[in-house]
Chain length 404, copies 2
């Protein structure tokens, strides 16, 4: 006797799981269009409900009325945004205050941070970076390599330990993503950080697909540097500013190449030569993009009172259940599940492979299930435990079944 | 018989000048707090009236409802913002379309542009930059110098021609501001560009205090590169994104170090190695900060139909009249006018020196006249011809007289 898993039974299980979801009160913290199953928060997070009022206040009161006075006066205090927001983001990364700044784009932060890290190992001429890294990480590693005269070697994350065994003593910096942007595979951050340190190298982690989704412990794992964006699981808005983390132990010696005036020890003294601020402030670059930062500040309130272990457990429940749904409903339809099935090897997205991916993703979106594609044949569905549900997972798999 | 210029006669002349102002219809394009004379638009421009609605639309409709689809779909087309906005800014710089991008901070654009320029003169090892340049320009010139192995020499703008005569054949890049941030002095951009070219060097102009205030002609003056911010006379909002101009003739050969993925020739092919886009697109860096950019896009509409020659003439009328008011009302009170009196040597601000500047600026602000200070002894009053009036000028001088 076999027990076929039916769509109906999955819908019923989803309802039970969603009823028991300890984060279900967080869903009302987002304004999602009715009828849409939004599984593209790994690319652009949904709109947090607190953002519209915050932006109205930012424009009318802080800018329009407070004018220049809002940089330092009243409750606006724009000047402090990079560090103030940095601490808010840092709390979601397992970073004690005073080690994270927010600003600029991830690309800019990668350049600044890779260079600062490499300069801390001046006698080592090798930079190891992920062969499957997101393109901007790869491009900027090459650029840093050219400017500093480093060899840049691309290594699959799964082979990093071997590479360190062979060439660790020449390796200045190891730069990898916490979660692969294409496959959704999660790498062993604490283990690989320890391996890099054992070889005397420093690590720079890209947390774009991890911040706000995983239970990160940057301080406890002894991470040196990390960067990431805030527009995916942190739902900070389109192109929201990036963040950079630098462990306190490096603050005194680190030298970022983007020596913008706001990172100066005494910026308004307007001195002619650069002297970086004593703490994480030296990782500040130019004048902060206030409006985008204030949107992020409001958005990040959606994490208030959320325990990261609970968040991670819910994320795994959602992605695990989606894999179950795909197994049950998509068999024999040309799909392959690319993301690892072991929970500890998953981020918060599930990637499927299908020869018609490029057509299926927009077709599903027309039916209200929004994900994204990566050419030539990947479908990516990201789950944000603050607003996605197990019902979303069934609907997505059902829709893909209907289309194939 | 002497004719003393009285405050009353200045008020009367101001009224006549304002009644004849060809740009007086532009004042309603800004939302200024009642009772405030805002003369700090050279630091943060006032709120353009079109911004609040644009931001509401950006947040609710484009982000909240359009979600990921707004990057390429509908009328949002966020992806195109850097070039689309670049062309809008370029039109105010005398730049034909396709040579300007908007994004990131001025500091980041300085680094990217100085490096790209220096790489076009690989056999020259000297970078000449303004001894009185804004600090971030000085710091980033030093950083570029360190990374590329260039000597960075600080030269007062007034001595640039002599420096070029002495060492022009070793000079790769000449990096100066169009207008001095502290004194408001305007330098001879076309003449100094020609002098640099005669020596075989390239120019990088910082237009922070010029864009939206002067009648710039980057194409006609044969400028190589320029950068600037959009939050001063362009009123794009606090920390609004910067711009970078690169003359078309350099597009094929220029190599920016910040090789972010959005500047790739085919960004969504996600290739492992960088190949810059064919045109100005290669000056793009990371993911654009959409909300800040959409505020700027709405703001720049305040220039619609404004002829730059008229704008410049009005700006000179305002600053010239303010100098007259200061001469008439501030004599014997310890003030010195720092900004040159010759119109062609002025930007759009007037800087005064007074031993009590640090106290006078906030005291005047309390009486509704907002400017800013630069320690130890400078008062800066910036005039934006789109919203400032000759009445503002009299009021500012009168207020300073009352306080001294």
């Amino acid at each position: 006797m076999t027990t076929a898993v039916t769509a109906d039974s999955l819908v019923s299980r989803a309802a039970d799981l969603d009823a028991a979801d300890p984060l279900r009160h967080c869903r009302e913290r987002f304004l999602l269009p009715e009828g849409t199953t939004y599984l593209d928060g790994n690319s652009l997070g949904a709109l947090p409900a607190a953002v519209p009022d915050a932006m109205r206040d930012a424009v009318h009161r802080q800018w329009g009325t407070g004018l220049i006075g809002s940089w330092f006066g009243g409750d606006a205090e724009w000047w402090g945004l990079p560090e103030r927001l940095g601490d808010r983001v840092g709390a979601l990364l397992g970073a004690a205050p005073g080690q994270t700044v927010v600003g600029d784009s991830t690309s800019v932060q990668i350049f600044n941070t890779l260079t600062a890290a490499a300069r801390l190992r001046p006698n080592r001429r090798l930079l190891l970076t992920d062969a499957g890294h997101f393109p901007t990480d790869a491009y900027l590693a090459d650029s840093v390599g050219e400017m500093l005269g480093l060899e840049v070697r691309r290594v699959p994350a799964a082979q990093l330990r071997e590479a360190l065994e062979a060439d660790g003593d020449r390796t200045a910096v190891v730069a990898f993503p916490a979660v692969d942007f294409a496959t959704g595979e999660r790498w062993d951050m604490p283990g690989l950080t320890a391996a890099a340190h054992a070889a005397g190298a420093l690590v720079v982690w890209d947390l774009c697909h991890a911040a706000g989704a995983l239970e990160l412990q940057l301080d406890a794992w002894d991470v040196d540097f990390a960067v990431g964006c805030t527009y995916k699981y942190l739902s900070g808005g389109p192109g929201a500013p990036a963040f950079a983390y630098a462990a306190r132990a490096h603050h005194a010696m680190m030298r970022q190449p983007l020596t913008g005036w706001t990172g100066h020890a005494d910026p308004f003294a307007m001195r002619g030569t650069y002297e970086g601020a004593a703490g994480i402030g030296r990782a500040r670059i130019g004048t902060p993009t206030v409006l985008s930062m204030l949107a992020l500040e409001a958005a990040i309130g959606a994490f208030d009172g959320v325990d990261l272990a609970t968040l991670r457990a819910q994320s795994l429940s959602l992605t695990g259940f989606f894999i179950e749904c795909c197994d049950a409903l998509l068999g024999g339809r040309g799909f392959e599940i690319v993301t690892p099935r072991e929970p500890e090897r998953r981020g918060s997205q599930v990637t499927l492979r299908h020869p018609d991916a490029v057509k299926l993703v927009p077709a599903a979106a027309e039916r209200g299930v929004v994900g994204d594609k990566r050419e030539p044949d990947l479908l990516r569905y990201g789950f944000n435990a603050l607003y996605n549900t197990h019902a979303d997972a069934v609907r997505a798999a059902t829709t893909l079944a209907e289309l194939t």
